[in-house]
């Protein structure tokens, strides 16, 4: 069934289709309508879940941890300050190996406060051991949440599905909504291997020696290394059942590969429009990075093949350093043979508009340069 819905509605519908048994969430713009929709679904009985109306995001995530420990499937959603408030708990969850699914509607961090989008909220959770996927469309949000449950429960780690506040959360698009029966076949109930079981009592999360901690960390890294392979496998199953294919990195290669723009989320949509209108003739392509954790290094290297130059557009800022995707990309390519000049660009912070014309002026400028401009370029705002 096709319906005109917003990104937030797609997220709530996907959550409903995934049949979580415990939901705990706290309102914050622009995430609010996800929590409201799920409250509606649980109130009218169309979703059989316990919705814990907590008093803060710290408690929301703590309740998800508790819920997940019982072996149940859990869901939460938040934005910016809310995610920051969860920070300590994110470490607890990944360390305790709990497959919690969290939708984050990206919004800039205060102060000063703004409702506009940028990705500093999720990117500052980079090292928490949570997987991170960034979405461009409402369809992608819906599909990715279903994939995310399967993936998180397979690799036993928490996962974020990120979407741009307002630009995606509040605009409507036509979205294909899968049948519940089909989703049930794709995503059966959680079959937890480790949980709090009175028939097989065990202690979780207590004190360990330095050596044991070291081993637990190695194990997380090893499992992270397996995530992208597992993601591909699950995406194959998803494609066979629903006909839509997702990859860690999405690429558009023009015939004449002069330059590639690397970015994520809705910014990738703008780049697609630009390529169609003007970029194609100039040999401009796109690499849309969906996965941020784990970072898809190999897929990125493959996608870059043949391009002469790259522009990374970061909708985030690590003050004192620059764009975070740009750092990750440069670090991934370090030491590889066919390195190309990479121009680092910051744009769209706080929801500032980035248009096709902005992109064209940027591309023309970069194509003119003989050498890649060092440092960070700020896009016109």
């Amino acid at each position: 069934m096709k319906k005109l819905i917003t990104g937030n509605e797609a997220a709530a519908l996907a959550a409903k289709l995934a049949r979580p048994q415990v939901i705990a969430a706290y309102p914050i713009t622009p995430q609010t309508s996800i929590g409201e929709k799920l409250a509606e679904y649980t109130a009218d009985g169309s979703l059989k879940a316990r919705y814990i109306k907590v008093e803060s995001e710290t408690s929301a995530f703590a309740a998800c941890i508790g819920g997940s420990l019982s072996g149940a499937r859990v869901f939460t959603a938040t934005s910016s300050q809310g995610l920051a408030l969860m920070h300590e708990l994110l470490h607890w969850a990944s360390g305790a190996r709990l497959p919690i699914v969290l939708v984050n509607v990206n919004r800039s961090m205060a102060s000063p406060w703004s409702l506009g989008v940028d990705h500093n909220d999720t990117l500052s959770q980079r090292d928490t051991g949570c997987l991170q996927i960034y979405c461009e469309t409402a369809q992608e949000v819906l599909d990715t949440i279903l994939i995310a449950y399967k993936l998180a429960e397979s690799v036993i780690l928490p996962i974020f599905i990120c979407m741009d506040g307002f630009l995606l959360s509040h605009y409507s698009e036509a979205v294909n909504i899968p049948d519940q029966d089909e989703v049930d076949l794709f995503l059966p109930p959680r079959d937890a291997q480790y949980f709090m079981d009175t028939n097989a009592p065990a202690t979780f999360g207590g004190g360990v020696s330095s050596e044991a901690l070291y081993q637990f960390r190695q194990r997380i890294q090893a499992d992270m290394d397996n995530v992208l392979t597992e993601h591909d496998r699950i995406c194959d199953q998803f494609y066979q059942r629903f006909g839509r294919r997702y990859t860690a990195v999405e690429t558009i290669k023009p015939e004449n590969q002069e330059l590639v723009i690397i970015t994520n989320s809705t910014m990738a949509g703008t780049v697609k429009a630009y390529i169609k209108e003007k970029g194609q003739q100039k040999g401009v392509g796109l690499i849309k990075i969906r996965f941020f954790r784990p970072f898809p290094k190999e897929a990125l290297k493959e996608a870059l093949k043949g391009f002469k130059k790259a522009i990374v557009i970061d909708r985030n800022l690590s003050p004192g350093s620059g764009g975070i995707f740009s750092q990750e990309i440069k670090a991934s390519l370090y030491g590889s043979e066919d390195q190309i000049p990479i121009v680092s660009v910051i744009g769209g912070l706080g929801g500032v508009d980035v248009t096709v014309d902005h992109l064209d002026r940027l591309v023309c400028e970069v194509l003119k340069q003989k050498k890649a401009q060092p440092g960070t370029i700020w896009m016109e705002a």
């Binding site: 703590a62 009592p201 207590g206």
Partner: protein, 297 residues
């Protein structure tokens, strides 16, 4: 004399607690009453250290160490999950210290109590942050020496009225208890076990290491706290119906204070004020429970 058989232990011997620790005694009694069909959430503090060190554990029950201050919310989520998994009869015990309850955990505690989530929350109160080396908490009584209230700046505030705060949440069952009265503690846990909704049990646990008294005296010091009425024992039903444990014996608070090193720096000039406060609190509680002074338990 009443005797008690120690069987069906839910707590293995050999924990990391200090000798004479009231906390381990309390945990034993509580989990013994709750029995096998119980899961435990605890937070940072002596409780999490006493629970053991990987790959060993002192708990025979499924046990989770949660972040400091989220004990109640974690327990709420766990209970919701267990219910949804069809395990509606499993008890969820939230176990936290005074710091994890009066201070950093107060918000999530209030949230869970206000929602009346069906969990048993036990605050083991040793009246300071013991695990981090005896710093004051808002449960630390007036005149106490801790590492953050060194002389001459001894604790200058009264203990926070956690009972008043929790009673205002109108939860179905709450009680104070002391590990020196194990039968009473067990009875209160038994009632909590039978009650649906949020249960709050506030247990005083004498701590030889932080209160500076000999390890062998833990039970005695707890008795002095109760008999001096510095720590009255009572229950509150639905936030309004008070039921007092009244003991015939009453001792001056000075006897309790002088039994511990933590009050030794305090000027004895403060004793009359402390005694007056205790007496008026006692009258208040007696009035709330419609009892007269001469009645006994």
């Amino acid at each position: 004399m009443e005797t008690m058989q120690i069987k069906d232990e839910m707590f293995y011997p050999g924990s990391f607690s200090c000798p004479g620790c009231g906390l381990t005694m309390a945990y034993r009694h509580v989990t013994k009453v709750l029995g096998k069909n119980t899961v435990v959430v605890t937070t940072a503090g002596c409780g999490s250290v006493v629970a053991g060190y990987y790959p060993t554990t002192t708990s025979k029950l499924p046990f989770f160490h949660c972040s400091f201050g989220t004990t109640a919310a974690t327990a709420s989520g766990l209970k919701a999950g267990l219910d949804m998994m069809g395990k509606t009869n499993t008890h969820v015990l939230a176990w936290a210290g005074d710091g994890g309850t009066f201070d950093i955990g107060l918000q999530s505690l209030s949230g869970a109590a206000e929602r009346n989530d069906d969990i048993i929350y036990v605050c083991y109160d040793n009246e300071a942050y013991m695990n981090t080396g005896v710093q004051r908490s808002s449960a630390t009584p007036l005149g106490t020496l801790t590492t953050t209230t060194p002389p001459p700046a001894l604790e200058n505030r009264d203990k926070k009225d956690i009972i008043g705060i929790m009673a205002a949440h109108k939860i179905p069952y709450m009680a104070t208890a002391c590990v020196s009265y194990p039968m009473d503690l067990q009875e209160k846990i038994r009632k909590a076990k039978k009650t649906k909704g949020f249960k709050f049990i506030h247990v005083l646990i004498p701590c030889p290491t932080g209160w500076f008294f000999p390890a062998k005296d833990a039970v005695t010091v707890g008795r002095l706290a109760v008999l001096s009425r510095a720590f009255p024992l009572f229950e509150v039903i639905d936030g309004k119906e008070y039921r007092m444990n009244v003991f015939e014996e009453k001792i001056p608070v000075a006897q309790y204070l002088t039994a511990q090193g933590r009050f030794r720096q305090m000027s004895t000039d403060l004793y009359p004020r402390i005694q007056t406060d205790i007496d008026s609190r006692w009258s208040e509680l007696m009035a709330l429970s419609n009892k007269r002074e001469e009645s006994t338990s």
